[in-house]
Structure formats: C-alpha cells, structure tokens
Symmetry: C2
Subunit: 549 residues, 2 copies
C-alpha cells in the first residue's frame, strides 16, 4: 500500500478489502495471474462491417469471400499490400486486369497508414510463396472492391520502429504510439488481467465492486494530495491518495467483501533529480571501484571486496589485517569458493543491510551487462514480507514513535499485550507482496476496536484523535474485524508484460514532471475562470516581475 | 451523453466506443440488463472464519455444526437472538444450562448491532414455531460457543427504520445507512450489473477496458470543469466532464473496441433552487387549476381543459367559442370518449410540445396519487431517440448555429451534402437512449475526416480550430470511422433498482450542495498548504472583512 519510492504521479490500484480474515487469502490473487489459455467465444467481428480480422484467415478459409478493414502497413508497386489490424496482418493482392482498374488506382494511391476496407476472395498462396513466420502466411486475399475510409498524411515516424523514437515524440503522438504491437499487447493484457481479477473476486468469491469518491476531504498532513477548490470561498476538496478511509467504512457498513480498481492521486511534485528505477552503468574493468564509489556516494558507506583465488589465497585490502586462521574461518563461514567475490561492510545493522542489498542488485546488473543471465525475465517469483514492526523510532527524534505502515494497522495478535508496555517491540499485521524484487502491493489487518485505535493515535503516536473522529465514531458502531490488500496495478502489469516502464502499460501517461505532452496539460487559465473558485495565482516574485513588464 | 438537467456533482459513466460501426449495436447493452438468474458457484464462505452465511441454512443442514458471524439484530430475554449479515437472518438459541452460563452471559450482555461469532448445531424449529416468511425459518442454531468480536454503542438510529430518518442524518452516518437492506441490495445490484456489462463487452465482444486520465487540460469554455492547481505557477489541470477526447484518440490508436467505467466530474455549483426530478403536489379537487397554474408559472403558457360529458356535450371554457359542428369535429379528431379530459395549448410548436409533455407527466402523477397505476415500476420500456438535428439556431442570436450535441458528431449520411449549403437542415448521427421516460445514455458516430471536422468548427460554428489542433492532427493520421455510446450508470441503476434518488445507488454520495456530510468535505485548508500550488484564496469582500475583525 505504501510505495515510498513510487515514480508515478497517478496510479491505479486494485484495492481489496474483506472482513473476518483469518488467513492470507491474497495468495489467491497472485494465482489469478496465470491467464487462462482456454478459448472464450469472443467475437471480434460482431457489430461491425468486417467479416474477419486481419489475423484470422487460414487455409481453411480458401474460397470464402471476406471483408477486411485495417491500416495499410505497406504497399508494393501496385501489386500487393499488407493490411494490419489489432489481430494481425493479411496480404492483399491488387487486381491487375482492366475491369478492376478503379480498385487498383484506389489502393495504389492510398498512403501508408490509410484506413481501407477491402472485399475479396481468400486464395492459397502459390507454392514457394507461403510465409511460415506469418500466422496468415498460407493465404492471401484477391481484392474485388476497395474503399479508402480515411486517408493518412505523412506521419512523424513509422509505426513499426516506434521504439527507437524519443519518449517525448512517443508521448506527443501517443495515438500513433498506441498502434505499435507492444502497446496494443500491453493494454490488451492489462484489460484481460483486470477482468480475470474481477471474475475471481466478483463471480467466484462474492466481492462487491464499490466506487468510492475521488473528491474528498484533505487528510491531516497529506502533503502529497492534490487540492481542488470548491465554489465555497476558502474551501477545498482533495483527490485522495487511496480509498483508505472509505474501505474501512464499507466494512463497517456491512459490505463485507469489497474491491475496487481505484484511481489514486499522489502529487509527487516535479523533482528534476528523480532517478529511474534501475541504474545501469557501463564499467569495463573497474567494477569494484564503481561499486565502492556507489556505496560511498549513495549511502556514505565504505565497502571492501574479497576474492578467493584458485590457490585458496585471499585477495583483499583486508587480508593483511587477518591471520591465516581468521582468513580460513571467514572462507568457511561464508562458504566462499574459488573465484567468488565477497563484499563486506561494517556498521549499523539496518543501514549495512540496505547498502549490501543495493550492492547485490548492482552486481547482478553488472554481471548481466557482461551477458550472464541471472534473473529470468519470464519467471515470476512472488514473496510475502511479513512481521513488520508496528512502530519505528522517528529519525529526527528517536524517543518518539511513528507508524511503520499507517496508524490503522493492527498489532500482531501474539504481541498485543506489549502495546501498553513496550510498543516499539510489537510486530504488525502488515504484509507486503513482492514480485521479482519489486513491491507490487501491500495491506494490513486493521484495528477494529475504537479504544485501541484511540490509544495508538493519542498515547503512542501523540496525534490529535479528533482529526479522525468520524472513523473512531464508526469503530464504536459494530465494526467487524477486517483487513485487505491493495495491488499497484501499473507496476504489476509492467512486470508481467516485461515492459521497461510503467508508462508502457498506461494508455495516456504523464511525463516524469507530471505533464501530458500531447495536450500540453497542465496549462494556464485566465483569472476570470478562477473567479468562481475564489482563488488567484500567487506568482513567485521573479515571474510576477516578468508579468508586470 | 449530455445530461443537461443532471442533478449530480459527480457521476459514473459507462463509456463504450467502437470503430467501424454500421448498426446501433448499443441495443445489446440494454439486453444485458436482464440479469442472468443462473446460479454461479459464488462462494461467500471462502477465505473467512465462518462456515455459512446467515441466509443459507435450511432443513437440509439440520445436525451440522456451523460457525456464523454477524450483527445482533435483536435479542430477547436471554433466550434467543437474531443474527444478521448481508445474506439474511438466522435465529440463535441461547443455551440455558449451567455448563453454558458463560455463553449466555456473553450474548445477554452484548448490545444490539454488536458483531459476534457463534458456533453451534443446526436444529429444526419445534412444530408450530417455523416461520414461512423467513428463508431460514425452518431452523435455528443451538449455540455452544460465542464471542463478541466488537461491541456496539447506542446508535443514533435503528438500522431497520433508516428510511424514516432525514437525508442529512443518513449521510452523516452513511456507514450505518449502508447496513440497511435497501442500500445493501442496491450496491450489490450495481456491482452485478456492471460486471455483466463487462463480461458482455470484454469476454463476448473483445472490447478493451482502458483507463483514461482524470488530470487533463481544461476544455475551452468548459465552465463546469473542476480545476486542479499544479506545482507550476499559474498552471492548472482540470477534471474532465467525460473521456470525450481520449476515446477518439484510442480509436485512432487502433484500440478498436474500447470501454471504460469512467468517473465524470461536473461542477454544477451549489444552486439552492435546484429542483428534485419529480415534483409531486397534493391537490384535492383543484387539479385543473393546479395544472394550469404550473403551465403558467413554469412556462408562461396558457392551457385550457376540455371534458366530454356522458351526454356528449363539451365542458370547457372554450365551448362557447366553438360551433356545434366544430365541437363535434374536435371530438372526432381527438377520438375523445365520455369523461375524457383534453388539455389544449396554442403557440409555437416546440414550446407547446414541451409544455404539454410536462402536463402529461403531471396528470399522470395526479392520477397515480389517486391510486390509479399508470406506469408499472417493474416494467422497463426502452426508447431510442434518433434523427436529432446536427445544429440549432442560437437562442440569443438565431442567425448563428451551435451544435445540438457536440461539434464532433457526424452528419447523417443521407444529409452530408447539405453540410456545405444548408447546415441548419442536417440531421445528425446522434442517438439517445431513454428508459421509462428518463434519458440514460447517448452517443454519436463521430466525424473522422479532418477537413469535415475543421469545416464544422471553423465555418459552421465560427470557433477557433487551433484550440483542438491535436485532435485535428490525429484525424489526419489514419483515423478509422468510429462512434459509441455512454450510459449514465447512476441513473440507469437507480431506475433498475427502483430507488427514489441516485444517492441510493452510490455508496458515498455528495449532498445537493456538493458536500460530504460524513467527513465535512470540502473544508478549509491553511495558506501554507496552498503555497506549493502558488494559489491563494480570493475572499469575497464581506468575508474578508469578517476575517479581519
């Protein structure tokens, strides 16, 4: 539920909530990822003018008269063209006889990417001209009539090599980028995956799909929430970061199994120093130096390396400080084998774990750059992270506690008694789900007892419980035990699709800076248009000066 | 698509878009309203601590040990109680023997609406005590163990008679209101209907569910769009009124069958004079006077009545102006029968139709108040409205034209040639769907030709086409012919559920004034919190004065 390092401005979340949980049923959700291969009777040709898609004709169709619609992928010398739709490609033979000269002219003149409708007969390709690499490669369609439904101007880039184009150009012409095989595949996969989740939750387990409001009240301290001015002077809605409070209220309201594909809004601001998720460096023979430098610059941490040579001697800046016996103990303890590299760091346990975890990933990246496949991108490895601490010592003031997850997470049932004596030692009922090393979701069993919730807010966290009075009130009104999970859909589908960025699984994504490069949003609006909302722009000094001049 | 008299601040819309339309396939959508009665293998008891719901035990279960969870509906003298969950009610027998004194005390002390878990044996009710009006009325559960999962304080109102409570109280305690049978039914029906629509579109016809952005650019003249300040000084997003432009761009992008359950944002302001949808008046013998008064006050239109008496004479203020022959002609033309009432109005055709249509509805209301059932609330009558004009003369300047629907609607294919000569005479490819007299949806076939779109914007509507340059550009890039429909889900489900207001089919609705009465949104936020967005509140003079003092 908490994507602390989330890169996105706006993301979708599958939010599942259920009362009376007694086991981590969320595992069933991950199993729904195995998309069923059973053929459903999906009819892509219902409701429209075509008889077939461009991907479905085979030898069995030879002799049939068909009507296809699609984009002209390419055309060669007025002899044939290849028609494309979302299902595939079909080769079209342009008639050369006088009686069809009109059809020939229509298709000869139509620019690439024009939309055409053709009617003709499916024929077998001549011997030697079949294309086994093309699903429709056994046949071609001899056209009798053709119509250009819409002509296409010269495009800023060819559809097929979109991937080589700059991200900015792809975003500006997103509607062309969407025609690429990869984007078609990703968005259709996303739709199917979400549908499978819905069928599983709704049809098999009786979950109820409930839409919760996106115009809501600002959460105290919710610094990352977008504000929306209302027509009441000085009053604002906010766009919620998650359906957090509503899902608890639905549980209390007796909607005992709720789910929603919810839009979540998080204003991450526009930080020019934002890092992409994976840092790849091209490093030759200085790999150790690069790793050490990275540990130093990112974490201010010294890291030493240690190599076991084939003659069983240690090569390390450390070796001169260790006796032979110590060296041999170290080799045994770490089960080091010849040519293995060991990275060592000394310091506070949590910090050193973080640094070394990072070094491990960077080492894997380095090895994969050298051609070694360590992580199979087609394998899905899921991991549950459990037994989180319920509270953490505040970094700026270790005497005070803050929630590790959020203040509504319930204590671990075995630890509840410690809540009133040693809260810092309690484990929580918070769980995170990790796929191939990326956090894809998380959730918790919630506190359902009003007194316990008030104690956590007031006594442990020193927060003002009045700010959440409507939730505390609701917990007193017969709130059932409840909990749930939220999956970050963008990230999950990105991993399943093997896409390099979440922007490849979102139809119209924002840029890193939160801009829509196609329509140029956000944009200036006039003071008159702001008037009904009783707000005005507070220009920063420099710009106000510039505006004056 | 255009709910001009929409009452809601925020509504959900099922938006379906498809290219290559050649018939009004939308009719299939309406057929999906017939919710399938086939039993799916929905397991409401998976993943949780109970063995059964409170609605499913029958004689066949007698002898089984079961665990139920639910709310205490009522408890009588420590002898028995009725347990409620979302599936029904089950009678629980409290043991009276010494060995179970603890169980007796637990259940005796638990207040109404507390959440309990009980385990016991299903037994047949004694002869004469079966309750045929209760689905579980043949059995009761003899409890062995019981646990109060959460105790309930005294509630502000009883769950069962919520309907008598004021709307404000229901909204303030929405989580209690949601426990009512009616709200449970409505929200579950909504979830099932939307799921059926998804299955139909996604599984049967290959539509792709695509999420489009809700942080978008302001539409020129989009006065009803909420604005969202960004962190770039002076720049704003807006919350779109519909996925309008995105669905066209998806068609152009080759997502040839798109649908979405989309959130639409329309800031209708807070008009204190807003009318509920149906006006009901309680009128005794002055019905005609009331009808005439209503026509006069609402439309400034005179209406006359005319009654055919059993002796075939006319009773009407008009009769003295008509010859016997004229009276008899009128009776024949209108096929008036004895005791029939006819309302007459004279004036401009369109206005008079509007007034008389209104009088017809008011008359029906009056008759139904007298106990005559004219409109069967369980019958669903669908109606397509087609052949709308493409343009209308502007009310303020009849020499100029405006779009009847929106500027993207395509002309009727039979009328296209008139576009360049007599645009005011063209019919459009716009269609509306009406259910039991209420508009529940609408859509259109869109213009896919860039030149035609530019001509409509520039020459017919005298608008600046540069404001829509990205759409015009996209139409030139091989845009396929396309069109679609959007259903207003709130309204549709309201009609199907027979609910008095759309607020009864929305989990957390806003009030007429756009307020969330539970959390008190919108609310004041501090100037410091507005700082990152470079805006400040422009207080109206009176309030600024008050704030100063």
């Amino acid at each position: 539920m908490s994507f602390r390092h989330g890169l996105r401005l706006l993301y979708s979340q599958l939010s599942v909530f259920s009362r009376e949980l007694n086991r981590p049923w969320c595992r069933y959700i991950s199993s729904s990822l195995a998309l069923s291969s059973e053929k459903r009777a999906t009819d892509f040709n219902s409701l429209v003018a075509r008889t077939n898609t461009c991907g479905e004709l085979r030898s069995a169709h030879v002799g049939q008269e068909v009507t296809l619609c699609g984009w002209i992928q390419y055309q060669r010398q007025g002899l044939f063209l290849v028609l494309r739709d979302f299902q595939g490609l079909t080769q079209i033979i342009i008639p050369q006889d006088e009686a069809h000269s009109h059809v020939k002219k229509v298709l000869y003149d139509a620019p690439v990417e024009s939309v055409v409708r053709v009617t003709g007969t499916v024929t077998s390709r001549p011997p030697g001209q079949k294309n086994p690499r093309m699903p429709t490669g056994d046949i071609e369609v001899k056209v009798k009539t053709a119509e250009v439904l819409n002509s296409c101007k010269k495009l800023p880039f060819e559809i097929k090599d979109f991937i080589k184009k700059s991200e900015a150009l792809r975003m500006q012409y997103r509607y062309l980028d969407l025609r690429s095989f990869q984007m078609q595949h990703n968005l259709r996969l996303r739709s199917q995956m979400v549908m499978k989740m819905r069928e599983y939750l709704c049809n098999l387990h009786g979950f109820v799909d409930v839409e919760t409001p996106t115009l809501f009240k600002r959460t105290p301290g919710g610094a990352k929430e977008f504000v929306v001015p209302s027509r009441e002077p000085g009053k604002f809605y906010c766009l919620p970061q998650s359906p957090q409070q509503f899902k608890q209220l639905l549980m209390i309201g007796g909607l005992d199994r709720y789910f929603q594909v919810a839009r979540c809004y998080r204003d991450e601001g526009s930080k020019p120093d934002r890092q992409p998720e994976f840092t790849q460096r091209h490093l030759q023979n200085k790999d150790f130096e690069a790793l050490k430098e990275s540990a130093k610059s990112q974490f201010n941490q010294e890291v030493l390396h240690l190599i076991l040579k084939p003659d069983e001697s240690l090569k390390s800046p450390l070796s001169k400080f260790l006796s032979e016996e110590q060296q041999s103990e170290l080799i045994q303890a770490l089960k080091v084998q010849a040519d293995d590299v060991v990275l060592l760091a000394a310091g506070e346990h949590e910090k050193v774990c973080l640094v070394l975890g990072n070094m491990r990933l960077e080492s894997a990246n380095l090895l994969e750059l050298r051609g070694l496949v360590l992580r199979d991108p087609t394998a899905f490895h899921f991991l549950w992270v459990v037994d989180f601490p319920l509270f953490l010592h505040k970094e700026e003031n270790p005497a005070e506690l803050e929630s590790a997850h959020h203040p509504f997470t319930a204590p671990h049932p075995s630890d509840t008694s410690l809540l009133y004596s040693e809260p810092a030692k309690i484990r929580s009922q918070h769980y995170d789900l990790v796929l191939n090393g990326s956090e894809i979701g998380g959730g918790s069993i919630r506190i359902h007892n009003a007194e316990q919730q008030r104690f956590v807010l007031e006594t442990v966290l020193k927060e003002d419980p009045e700010l959440l009075s409507h939730l505390l009130e609701a917990l007193k009104c017969g709130a059932p035990p409840h909990g749930g999970i939220a999956l970050g859909l963008d990230r999950l589908i990105c991993l399943v699709a093997g896409a390099p960025s979440i922007r490849d699984v979102i139809a119209f994504p924002k840029s890193f800076k939160g801009r829509d490069l196609m329509s140029n949003a956000p944009d200036y609006i006039t003071p008159e248009e702001l008037e009904p909302y009783h707000i005005q722009v507070a220009w920063p000094a420099a710009e106000a000066e510039a505006n004056k001049n």
